[in-house]
Symmetry: C2
Subunit: 225 residues, 2 copies
């Protein structure tokens, strides 16, 4: 590789919210990269070698150095390419951004997933409740800001793409009402604003095939009841 | 508060590995702070107000601004007080440090806890296996370094204090062999080195009361079988 030339690869699958986070960060920074589509039923040697611990996407490979875990990758991108900052510059606000992104991973993702993809009715109800409670915290945290990052979107917005794009698909499939404009007006307005941002719009996966894929999964789960 | 004066508080309990992480970071940086002992059966208003989301310790309060989540706090401390760095300076190594600390939280803590504090025998066995698998990754990652951070300890070492100090107590209580010098010679050597570091030695909780507390918990669980 010639000096100064960047070799940037993203191992991913279309339709993953975690891969999408990295794509938003890369697009925001204007970084050219090669998207290497993985087949999760038959993972590539490159994926297994690059992420031997979790064997999952996304994996980001910069000049042959691999990094896993979407939020770790996004922070790496922000520290390596300084334009269009993703994290705030001030330590306290950086800490809050890290706190809320971790909150989304710990409290929103699993609960929302299990609100749909679980067989047990009680378990489902519990997870719907937990999802609602977690979203309420985010509704409050957003206050009257355009983005969690303020006037520009940042780490928490990127982490929360799952809420804006994936949860509405989930709830439509399962006939649930979790994330609605009535329940969470500020968060809903944020989601519309964020998804229509040129950077985000361009990297969101096509909705219909993802909907069909998740619906098929939901129906096969329901059929096994 | 007079200009330039720092108001630094840590809400915690003695015997928590997560609180201990923050104490190691503070000690390493030489920061004076007030330790506010919480009663988890009757949480203080300050705790509930400072961490309304999780209502858990540790909470770090710097000039009246609260931060929760131990690893978020440690990064904040490192960004605010620059002496004796905890994270490496180079972005790739920072990413690896974040990856492995997250790994410890996601893959080691829960599995090790459930290896002891679970009723179901199959569940226990599964968790012992998962603990062993996770520790093997750390054994390999340590290579022949003194610390995960290299010659000086860093974020991953601080995150891993749970392995050095708490897991040996856990396994003694339950009569298990998870983290032993035979199984993980490098990690075991690291644990001895890390715990005898003057900074760490000074903030580790007294072993005997913690042992008794956890033993009582284990026995009450066993009695309920």
């Amino acid at each position: 590789m010639a000096a100064g030339q960047e070799d940037v690869k993203l191992l991913g699958v279309v339709g993953s919210p975690f891969v999408c986070r990295v794509q938003i960060a890369l697009k925001l920074k204007g970084i050219e990269y090669k998207f290497v589509e993985e087949n999760l039923a038959n993972k590539s040697d490159l994926l297994l070698k690059s992420n031997p611990v979790h064997k999952k996407v996304p994996v980001f490979i910069h000049n042959e150095k691999p990094i896993a875990e979407s939020l770790v990758i996004v922070e790496y991108i922000d520290e390596t390419w300084k334009n269009n900052p993703i994290l705030p510059s001030e330590p306290y606000h950086r800490a809050l951004a890290r706190f809320w992104s971790k909150f989304i991973d710990d409290k929103v993702f699993g609960a929302a997933w299990k609100s749909v993809f679980t067989l047990d009715e009680k378990e489902r109800e519990k997870n719907v409740e937990e999802s609602l409670e977690a979203l309420q915290f985010l509704e409050n945290e957003l206050k009257d800001n355009k983005f969690f990052g303020g006037e520009e979107f940042g780490l928490v917005d990127i982490a929360a793409i799952f809420i804006a794009f994936w949860i509405p698909i989930f709830q439509e499939i399962a006939g649930l009402q979790i994330f609605t404009s009535e329940k969470f007006p500020k968060l809903y307005k944020w989601s519309q604003e964020f998804m229509s941002h040129p950077v985000v719009k361009e990297v969101l996966p096509p909705r219909d095939p993802l909907f069909c894929l998740l619906q098929a999964r939901y129906e096969s789960l329901s059929a096994s009841k």
